[in-house]
């Protein structure tokens, strides 16, 4: 794996790396991806539908349920009337 690819991945993953960490990670990822590459040559003789890709669908239908009523939600807040969100950015 090339360093510029790794920088892009780190950006996607939203993780900051120091330059020396990137060099170490490059070696690790190269070795790991070599192992993963063994899958690329596997011949699969079956035809796959979307159900095989979305594995979680095997147990239960994804049905929408009614959301909690706002009044009930707010009544359970520690303050009793509203939720206070702590300030994050100065």
């Amino acid at each position: 794996m090339k360093e510029n690819n790794l920088e892009r991945l780190a950006e996607l993953a939203k993780i900051e790396f120091l330059p020396e960490e990137l060099a170490r990670m490059e070696n690790d990822m190269t070795s790991i991806i070599e192992l993963m590459d063994s899958l690329r040559d596997v011949e699969l003789n079956e035809a796959f539908g979307e159900d095989e890709v979305l594995r979680l669908a095997m147990l239960r239908e994804d049905a929408s349920l009614k959301s909690m009523e706002t009044v009930l939600l707010v009544s359970q807040s520690p303050e009793g009337a509203d939720f206070s969100i702590p300030k994050i950015l100065e």
Binding site: L9, A13, E16, M25, I32, I33, M36, E52, L59
Partner: protein
């Protein structure tokens, strides 16, 4: 003592719940500095739970786990103890709700004796990836206990709790149970609620028990397994084959691909001896080939890393735990917090997941891995139509020494070959001790069953455990 024996001792007033809890707390105070199994123990809280349990015992209303001290892997949410997933990023974090299985244990007035060390966010097979300190194997303090539930296995092996909860995504209950000479069950996917279990790979994660015996694992399983409307993968239909009294006529398959040349000779020999024991009891043991299992490792790592990269995106320095002190804007809060807070292995898996899901690579890696998991699932289904259960080693070798840890991460991943495939198929699988190598290190036998045959495979292990001469770990402070 086993949980079953402790239950008798508590109910007959031979010992009180407080005395029992104090005994375990004393053991933890003496041995935890060496073993490192616990991250958090609150003596006062544990004793207050014991006091409450004693009132119930005195009223003659005890449940199977009332007053029994159980250790909790630190990825299960508890409102009265921190939940850190052994990560610096979540240091000091106390969740606002209990995991469903913690609520289930509280319903029985179980003593939750402490939160147990693990590989950070359950990523690892050695416990060397804990963000705090590594756990050591009670059989040899120079060796790893396995992972990621290595703290749970070590705590049970060193008698620092009567039983423990762990989680298993690709072998994280079974492999440490094998390394530490205890019994550990990965239940059928959907049998035990993961609500309040910090997610690693949602299509694979499952919570389960580790204990001194299969019978004890069954007692803990009964307490924690319940249908949970809060968890979308919790199964409503959960009927499986019950425990069996007899082994006569059962068909057991020994998995060919997991008994190859890469399995160490003493491990292979111990598993073969266990298979012969089942034969001597009247079971029919035959070899069975599941050829696609050899691709289990890359398939498992791609799927789990892809899911982890999505699941761990919630740790952004805003909603949970620690936050970097040197940020300039929102983007830098997220990147710096994750850069400073996550350990090396977690970063590696997130990057692998991001890679597998990238446009251009998705079909070649993630989609192929998911399709391969489907093929593995079909192979297991066909094998379990022919056989009542499958036998194999839990790991190609015994616990390695800290100074002999693999330096190439891919080599470490390959060592998970025996355990990663059952989760891809959603099957229950357990580890029970079946031997010791020439250095006295435990070897585990894995028994894999059909979906919801958890009680059945536990009973297969129980029969074996009654005959197997277990050698306890001897840790000295």
């Amino acid at each position: 003592m086993t949980i079953k024996e402790l239950r008798c001792a508590l109910d007959s007033r031979e010992i009180s719940a407080a005395e029992l809890t104090k005994g375990y707390l004393a053991g933890i105070a003496e041995l935890n500095p060496q073993i490192g199994a616990y991250l958090h123990v609150n003596e006062e809280l544990a004793l207050s739970m014991a006091e409450k349990a004693q009132k119930r015992i005195d009223a003659g209303e005890s449940a199977p786990l009332t007053g029994i001290p159980i250790g909790i892997k630190d990825l299960l949410c508890t409102t009265d103890m921190p939940t850190t997933c052994a990560s610096k990023l979540l240091e000091g974090y106390i969740p606002p709700y209990d995991a469903t299985i913690i609520s289930n244990l509280r319903t029985q007035d179980t003593v939750l004796i402490g939160k147990i060390n693990m590989d950070e966010f359950a990523m690892g097979s050695s416990n060397m990836n804990s963000g705090y300190f590594p756990v050591k194997n009670p059989y040899d303090l120079n060796r790893v206990p396995g992972g990621s539930s290595g703290g749970s296995a070590a705590a049970v092996a060193a008698n620092l709790c009567a039983g423990a909860l762990g989680s298993d995504t690709g072998g994280s209950i079974r492999q440490p149970a094998s390394f530490c000479g205890v019994t550990g069950l990965r239940p059928t996917y959907g049998l035990v609620s993961r609500f309040g279990c910090v997610a690693f790979a949602s299509s694979l994660d499952q919570v389960g028990p580790l204990a001194q015996s299969a019978e004890d694992c069954g007692i803990i399983l009964d307490a924690i397994a319940s249908y949970d409307p809060k968890e979308m993968t919790s199964a409503r239909e959960r009927s499986g084959r019950p425990a069996t009294d007899s082994l006569k006529g059962l068909k057991l398959g020994l998995i060919e691909e997991l008994m190859g040349s890469d399995v160490e000779a003493q491990t292979k020999s111990a598993v073969e001896a266990a298979a012969r024991w089942y034969e001597a009891q009247g079971a029919i043991v035959e070899r069975i080939s599941l050829p696609m299992l050899k691709y289990g490792v890359p398939a498992y790592y791609l799927i789990s890393a892809a899911e982890a990269s999505a699941n761990l995106s919630r740790f952004d320095g805003v909603r949970y735990g620690q936050r970097s002190k040197s940020y300039t804007d929102y983007q830098s809060i997220v990147e710096k917090t994750r850069g400073e807070g996550f350990g090396w292995e977690v970063k590696r898996r997130i990057l692998l997941g991001a890679y597998a899901l990238c446009s251009g690579y998705y079909d070649a890696y993630y989609k192929k891995a998911v399709q391969l998991a489907h093929v593995v699932r079909e192979e297991y289904r066909k094998a379990l139509e022919q056989f009542d259960a499958l036998l194999s080693p839990v790991s190609p070798d015994v616990a390695f020494r800290f100074d002999n840890a693999p330096t190439d991460p891919a080599q470490g991943y390959i060592a998970d070959i025996c355990t990663v495939s059952a989760p891809l198929a959603g099957l229950p699988a357990l580890s029970t001790p079946c031997g010791y190598n020439s250095e006295g290190m435990p070897i585990g036998l894995m028994i894999t069953g059909k979906r919801f045959d958890d009680k059945f495979i536990l009973s297969l292990a129980s029969h074996y455990e009654r005959e197997f001469k277990k050698i306890p770990a001897e840790v000295r402070a």
